[in-house]
């Protein structure tokens, strides 16, 4: 079983995220946005909001995107299958920045399952895109074997019932 991480570097979480840094509202602009920057220009954002360079305008535009960008979708298809277990969360495995994300991390840890986490706080386009990609409005979002499994409540319930352990065992052996 190979544990090589093939997540595109644009999604990699920085090794030492500082809370103060990621809590600024500038998240979407201070990131390496080469990929998403391009993706956004291809999308349906009105030109005016980009040329003005108005940050509030841009953030609003990102939120209003109605269709998932095909480039982002293709990338996410790859990311969710890059590992057997992929968790999109607020913060990182070692520094969760939300109680719900932390709960899922603790559950996965307790089951000794190798998993990859992606910090959605570091990329606003990713964060918004994932809500559509998964048809799920909140984070964390857990993917098992390329399939959306659920958010925190579902993961907790499946853990309590033993269903999660079973699924993970099956998945890791496949």
């Amino acid at each position: 079983m190979s544990l090589a991480i093939t997540v595109p570097s644009v999604f990699r979480t920085s090794p030492c995220p500082r809370a103060a840094e990621s809590r600024t509202t500038d998240v979407s602009l201070s990131l390496p946005t080469a990929h998403f920057g391009r993706a956004l220009r291809c999308s349906t954002i009105p030109n005016s909001s980009i040329v003005t360079g108005n940050r509030a305008g841009r953030l609003r535009s990102i939120r209003c995107l109605s269709a998932l960008d095909p480039n982002l979708k293709a990338t996410l298809d790859k990311v969710v299958t890059s590992q057997k277990i992929v968790l999109f969360m607020k913060g990182t495995k070692d520094f969760p920045q939300c109680g719900f994300s932390n709960t899922v991390v603790q559950i996965l840890r307790s089951l000794n399952s190798p998993f990859e986490t992606i910090n959605i706080l570091e990329n606003e386009a990713l964060r918004q895109g994932l809500k559509e990609y998964s048809s799920w409005p909140t984070f964390p979002q857990l993917y098992i074997d390329g399939e959306f499994f659920g958010g925190c409540d579902i993961t907790v319930e499946a853990y309590k019932s033993g269903e999660l352990q079973e699924l993970l065992e099956r998945t890791m052996c496949s």
Binding site: S22, G99, F100, W136, G150, D153
Partner: protein
């Protein structure tokens, strides 16, 4: 501003016709509720956190993921302003009855 408990309840009632509905509003800064997550939320407001227990016939034959999707779907407007939604229970009337009974017998034991 923000979404009230009444709005959440009325949306759920009209869309999912629950036989039992419990909707709790959890205050800000409560332990164990991911109190730090609102700080960077892009809605910029100060929304409430809701915790829901819902019993509905419509959940029959649906997986938990689908049940949660139904609740999320019923609250699509409210979700824009809700910061955290916890669906503690989404069960069918049959399951609800069983759970109530097993709780009772546990309490009696």
């Amino acid at each position: 501003m923000g979404v009230t408990k009444e709005q959440v309840e009325s949306s759920l009632t009209s869309k999912l016709n629950p036989s039992h509905l419990g909707c709790g509003v959890v205050g800000m800064g409560l332990q164990g509720w991911g109190e730090d997550e609102e700080v960077i939320d892009d809605s910029g407001g100060c929304g409430a956190k809701f915790s829901i227990v819902i019993v509905a016939e419509q959940f029959e034959g649906k997986r938990l993921l689908e049940r949660h999707r139904m609740v999320n779907g019923a609250l699509v407007e409210e979700m824009k302003e809700i910061h955290a939604l916890s669906i503690t229970k989404a069960v069918t009337p049959e399951q609800w009855k069983q759970q109530q009974e097993s709780e009772k017998s546990q309490a009696a034991a």
